[in-house]
């Protein structure tokens, strides 16, 4: 170095600089963006009546798959020590099929999932995919925008067969305003009754049916059985004239989320929106009748456990049902894991009763889906990932093995029972869970983030759940307030 002259130094510097420049140059990802015309559906009001009209818009065509390596970030909620390795394993098997696409999972705790997505969107750098995504998907849909990519062109381009996904799944995957497909069903959750076999046997009452098509298994029958199985501290059931309503020690039935189910069962619409016309509130008179029926059973007849008593009743147990003093409970697939801990009594699964309207049952079918952020630059690679996790080969693993939930594909439903049965410590009829799918209602209660709906609904709903007012007394006022909210919101459109 001491003997280096200026010329040598300049040569060395030039060589070093060129080398650094060459090293810094990365191969570019060539994205070919095309614009194509597409027919989209839009809801308009014509002379006071909502109508779906079609209009032609220009949208970005599905991007050409890049040949260079790409990284698809998938934001996942609630990864656990058990599920994270399974997610990674599925990602790895995908990478073996698509070596140029790497899936990077961003595991976020449940309660932070939506805020994290919001923050990333606000920062202008959302991930490519969100999967699985449940009700939170509706937070990012409104009449004037959606953060989700329209998947219809991709389905059409690749001729992707959606016939194996049920109606509820496809409705939930659609944008309710534009009717475009915005998600791929990947996981399903459904409801059923879990009942205490020992309590039924002790009372000498036949167990509830497992067949979902049992005509005479209805609300009246449920109430009849619940009355016999609700006991006070002296062992008198609810039909006994001297039944002590203040000292109930065993309940016949508990529905953890009666808010919309009972009104729906009577034939009503969701409390937040009328599914036929989203500019109107639901909460019709039929809904009110059903909701108040629940209240009467809970507080006047005292055969349904009131919601606020559940924590009290459960004490230190995982749930009221685990105490062994609850004959029947409205359960969901996400409760199944907790039942595996029950050792003190025998239990089984049964069909839910239908309401006064034959095809209405008191539970909702929830669908978690995989979606692509519209602002992502890797549409095609993301779409490959969506197809993979919803495919014939992988879908079952992505649902049943990963989350112990129902498979998204109808053809996989029969295999659900086979997979679940060996994991249950007791001999339970797991087919009841598998067969529940066609009977749940889509959770039309999910509104877009439009106003004060939840604040209003929670207040009035709690009046009924705490029996400070009947549904007849308070829901009409609630209906007016929510409608005012919708009117204010849609005044902008």
């Amino acid at each position: 170095m001491k003997n280096m002259n200026r010329r040598t130094f300049l040569r060395a510097a030039a060589l070093t600089g060129s080398g650094l420049l060459a090293a810094a140059c990365q191969p570019k990802i060539v994205e070919v963006e095309k614009v194509v015309t597409q027919i989209v559906k839009e809801e308009v009001i014509v002379e006071g009546t909502p109508k779906i009209v079609e209009k032609v818009v220009e949208v970005a065509a599905p991007t050409v798959a890049p040949k260079d390596k790409v990284n698809v970030r998938d934001i996942v909620w609630a990864g656990t020590a058990k599920t994270i390795p399974m997610y990674e394993m599925i990602a790895q098997s995908f990478n073996e099929r698509f070596p140029h696409i790497t899936i990077e999972h961003l595991f976020v705790p449940n309660d932070q999932h939506t805020p994290r997505i919001q923050t990333m969107i606000a920062a202008g750098d959302p991930p490519e995919v969100a999967s699985p995504l449940g009700g939170a998907i509706h937070f990012f849909r409104a009449p004037d925008y959606s953060v989700w990519l329209n998947l219809d062109p991709f389905v059409e381009r690749d001729n992707y067969d959606l016939s194996d996904f049920g109606e509820v799944s496809m409705v939930s995957a659609q944008n309710p305003f534009t009717k475009s497909l915005e998600g791929m069903p990947v996981q399903l959750f459904s409801g059923f009754i879990t009942y205490n076999k020992d309590l039924f046997e002790k009372a000498g009452i036949p167990e509830p049916p497992h067949d979902w098509n049992t005509d005479d298994w209805d609300i009246e029958k449920l109430v009849e059985i619940a009355s016999l199985l609700t006991l006070d501290d002296k062992g008198r059931n609810a039909n006994d004239p001297s039944f002590d309503k203040e000292n109930v020690v065993q309940y016949g039935y508990y529905e953890p989320e009666p808010e919309s189910d009972w009104g729906f069962m009577w034939g009503g619409h969701s409390p937040r929106t009328d599914v036929e016309n989203r500019r109107n509130v639901g909460l019709d008179d039929v809904f009110i009748e059903g909701a108040d029926y629940w209240r009467q059973m809970a507080f006047e007849k005292r055969i349904f456990m009131p919601t606020y008593e559940a924590t009290n009743f459960a004490g230190v147990m995982a749930s009221p049902f685990h105490t062994g003093k609850l004959a029947m409970v409205g359960a969901y697939t996400w409760n199944v894991a907790s039942y595996k801990d029950i050792k003190d009594f025998r239990y089984d699964f049964a069909a839910e009763p239908h309401g006064p309207v034959r095809d209405r049952f008191p539970f909702r079918t929830c669908m978690d889906q995989a979606t692509i952020f519209a602002k992502s630059k890797l549409h095609d690679a993301s779409w490959e990932w969506l197809k993979y996790i919803s495919s014939e080969d992988i879908s079952f693993r992505y649902s049943v093995d990963l989350r112990e939930c129902l498979p998204a594909r109808l053809s996989h439903i029969p295999k659900y029972g086979e997979r679940l049965k060996p994991t249950m410590p007791q001999d339970v009829d797991v087919n009841v869970v598998a067969e529940s799918l066609p009977f749940g209602h889509y959770s039309e209660a999910w509104p877009p983030p439009t106003g004060w709906i939840d604040d209003i609904w929670n207040i009035y709903n709690q009046k009924v759940k705490l029996n400070t007012a009947s549904a007849y007394e308070c829901y009409p006022e609630c209906r007016e307030l929510i409608q005012a909210n919708w009117d204010a919101y849609y005044a902008d459109f």
Binding site: D454, Y460, L466, L481, A488, D492
Partner: protein, 303 residues
Amino acid sequence: MATARQRSTAARREAWAFHLFISPWIIGFIVFTLFPVLASLALSFTKYNIAQPPVWIGLKNYRNAVTVDPTFFLALRVTWTYALASIPLQLVLGLIIALMLNADIPLVSVWRTLYYLPSVLSGVAVAVLWALIFHPSSGILNNLLAIFGIKGPLWLFSKQWALPALIIMSLWGVGGSMIIYLSALQGVPTTLYEAATIDGAGAWRRFWNVTLPMITPVLLFNLIMGIISTLQSFTSAFVMTQGGPEGATLFFGLKLYYTAFRDIRMGYASMMAWVLFIIILVLTMAVVKSSSAWVYYEGTLKR
């Protein structure tokens, strides 16, 4: 002797040094405080769902709050009731405990630590603890009342008792104001007490005419801090009641949080933040203005 030029150069150098050392704070203040505050003011006149750029809607958010949103005034009412009840209680209880701990009692430093400890515990942990205390059947409080033959209410599950429960819980943290009162009490000149005693003043008279006037500056401070923190209450309702039952504990801060982060309506939430700011500002200014009538600073003469 430095010439004028030398003095000017030195002054300039000193100014440079000042600006250089204070610049990190100034930059941080502008970027992380001033700009977001001004941005939220601008956003309060917009409809903003973070997925799309803000859309100017003028005073519509303010108008909707008054005319359409039934929970806006509910939240204000709940927060106001909470503040009206808990601020005086906190002031009085803090002072009483400070007076007790100002006495010459055995292990006084241990007692002071014990009374101060609750105020340093995390808000969420305290809320969870009190949720267990208020449990209708297994909670300590109702079990204690049962010993005296009293059937305790449903507390957090009762529309009538949920807010009183949170008010009771707010007294848990009086240790913070107690410490400040304590330091003020110890700053009261003993000569005043001696003079009052010589003049025949009893304990109550000494408290009313000597102690209280001498600690009014600290009372003013605790009152203003109490107004600011109480009107911004959030944690207890968020953890314990989520604003229920029936909106009985829907604090304004909680509704603001739900509007911004549950409903993703940043424009409306910004409006709420500014309404809260103006309310707190007006109240604080009113208290400060009134302080000339009841706050005594040592050395000042009131005519």
